[in-house]
């Protein structure tokens, strides 16, 4: 079977000349995808099961259709108004991705500055925490007042939501470096920039990616929260409209697409992690396979 052969490939020693070696080469692109599929079929199955239950509940008329529409009706709504949904999905995606990108840039940069300057870290941390604990739904109207009715305030809320996990994870990652590694770097005559580029930043990447995954889902929430407060487009707007009209199929459709958006962004980050950190991902998968 296909799965069988990939396992064999993975466990073949990389160095035939080393008899005691358990060495494996990092997986190429092909095995990485295969591994990803192997890892995701279970959650996918659970998802399918949920849809089946949803379908069964509505098909058996256990709840009123105006409370919970059937999967079929929800899909019909999406297909019937595909242009409408495409537009609003595009708007929310745009806000989310842009907000996420800005959060990464600002988050990583602040983390680096904070790690290298304890003074800045001490002065910035309270501000950061404040920005995190303040309820975004409460501060969003202010952004509308300041930045107008367009997409900017939504992007700002998305940035605010996604920023925090990125900063925290990057700071943790940059600080997790073995101090002996830094001392070693000093004896190699490396300057701070070289040490950062070749040692400290790569070492922080696993932490950074953990933060990015959380941040990806937060960015979607941020964009929708922004839309809730005041918008005439985007999935948040679609849901508000549907809610006002008691149009549950439309509401369900909006919710599903929104969740899908978060999942897609999350998966993109995870895939990126597989490609950027093969050394890290492979070790993790090994842990999973041995526990099976």
């Amino acid at each position: 079977m296909a799965a069988q052969s990939t396992i064999e490939q993975r466990e073949r020693p990389a160095s035939p000349s080393g008899p005691t070696s358990t060495a494996r080469r990092p997986a190429g692109a092909g095995t990485t995808v295969a591994r990803f599929v192997r890892k995701t079929w279970r959650p996918a199955a659970v998802l399918v099961a949920i849809f089946v239950v949803w379908w069964a509940v509505t098909a058996a008329n256990l709840v009123k259709p105006y409370l919970v529409p059937s999967p079929g009706r929800t899909l019909d709504v999406v297909l019937a108004q595909s242009g409408y949904f495409a537009h609003h999905t595009w708007i929310t995606s745009y806000e989310t991705v842009l907000g996420f990108a800005i959060a990464i840039a600002v988050g990583v940069l602040s983390a680096v500055v904070m790690v290298y300057s304890p003074t800045i870290e001490k002065s910035l941390y309270p501000l950061l925490l404040f920005a995190q604990v303040i309820p975004k739904i409460a501060i969003a109207p202010l952004f509308i007042v300041w930045l107008g009715f367009g997409l900017t305030p939504k992007i700002v809320v998305a940035v605010l939501m996604a920023f925090f996990p990125i900063v925290i994870s990057t700071v943790t990652g940059l600080k997790s470096i073995d101090p002996e590694m830094l001392q070693l770097s000093a004896t190699m005559g490396a300057g701070p920039a070289q040490t950062f580029r070749k040692i400290r930043f790569p070492a922080a990447l696993p932490h950074l990616f953990a933060g990015l995954k959380v941040a990806a889902t937060m960015a979607v929430t941020g964009a929708v929260v922004g839309e809730f407060v005041g918008a005439n487009e985007g999935l948040g707007y679609v849901i508000l409209q549907a809610n006002g009209n008691l149009d549950t199929p439309m509401l369900f459709a909006g919710l599903l697409i929104m969740s899908l958006l978060g999942v897609v962004l999350f998966v993109v980050v995870e895939l990126l992690e597989y490609f950027v950190l093969p050394w890290h991902a492979s070790r993790r998968t090994d842990a999973v396979t041995t526990s099976l």
Binding site: A14, S15, P16, S17, G18, T20, S21, T22, A23, R24, R25, P26, D178, E180, M181, Q183, L184, S185, A186, T187, M188, G189, A190, Q194, K198, I199, P202, A203, L277, W279, H280, R283
Partner: protein, 276 residues
């Protein structure tokens, strides 16, 4: 540069390398650490002179300042008083003309063995072809052949330390500092590494300062063993090891001189630990 003068002088007899200027000269050094809770005197009144090409082991109770001593020599730490000189030059900051090996191999997980060794060359901006050639040389010398493309998590502890050793030797440092490099290895691998280190030292002719907790390791490898007192650390005694340059492991273990040296060290360490 001095680092280039030390070649692979295979038959160099370090014991003959007499006072032509010390490789390492530690003069009346003291180190005090000031922490929030208390001040710690790690080293007091340490004076040492290590000749070029010499192999010196350092033993002593935990916390007596052995690591601190190596950090002084490398310039990672400044003495509170006294002076440290490397090849006659006062150590004022991190030195590039040393090689360092720690107990944990401290390898970069995302780099293969070969590229972990090459980091030394990259940081120093050494010419690529020259560095590549040197890496292959070291891989062959340390028995890493066949493992060049393995990642650290795919290597055994012994193999990881070989990589760390190659990295430390890449730029042909005149002085090699080793801080309990084999402390995490099993007894058998450790013996094997001892034999290899002895051979590598003879091939490279570098001066070695080795911190260890193993008395046998200290004596088997060294020309001299420095026994330190517990904190605040200072030199309790310097043991000259009168063993032949050619040291077969089994024969050395059985040699009367080996028994004498290890016995003396054990007495000193025992005496100092009970006094604590």
């Amino acid at each position: 540069m001095t680092s280039m003068t030390v070649g692979n002088t295979a038959m160099q007899r370090p014991t003959d390398a007499t006072a032509t200027g010390a490789a390492v000269d530690i003069d009346q050094v003291a180190v005090r650490f000031h922490t929030k809770k208390k001040d710690v005197t790690a080293l007091t009144d340490v004076s040492l002179r290590i000749e070029p090409g010499e192999f010196v082991s350092i033993v002593g109770a935990s916390g007596c300042g052995k690591s601190t001593l190596l950090k002084l020599v490398s310039g990672l730490l400044r003495p509170s008083s006294g002076q440290v000189r490397l090849h006659g030059e006062e150590v004022r900051g991190p030195r590039r003309d040393i090689g360092y090996v720690f107990q944990r191999a401290a390898l970069l997980e995302w780099r293969t063995a070969r590229r972990n060794i090459l980091i030394q060359a990259e940081m120093r901006r050494m010419p690529k072809t020259q560095a590549r050639q040197r890496v292959e040389e070291l891989i062959a010398m340390t028995g890493l052949t066949g493992f060049e493309d393995a990642y650290p998590n795919e290597l055994s502890g012994g193999m990881q330390q070989r990589v760390a050793l190659c990295r430390a030797l890449l730029h042909r440092p005149p002085v090699l500092l080793m801080d309990e490099p084999f402390g995490a290895l099993d007894a058998l691998t450790r013996e094997q590494m001892n034999v290899e280190l002895r051979r590598i030292w003879r091939e490279t002719g570098t001066t070695v300062l080795l911190v260890t907790h193993s008395i046998a390791e200290a004596v088997y490898l060294a020309d001299r063993v420095i026994v330190m007192t517990p904190r605040p650390g200072t030199v309790a005694e310097v043991i000259n090891v009168d063993l032949p340059v050619e040291r077969d492991y089994g024969q050395t273990m059985a040699a009367p001189e080996f028994a004498r040296a290890t016995g003396r060290i054990r007495d000193l360490l025992g005496a100092t630990t009970t006094a604590e």
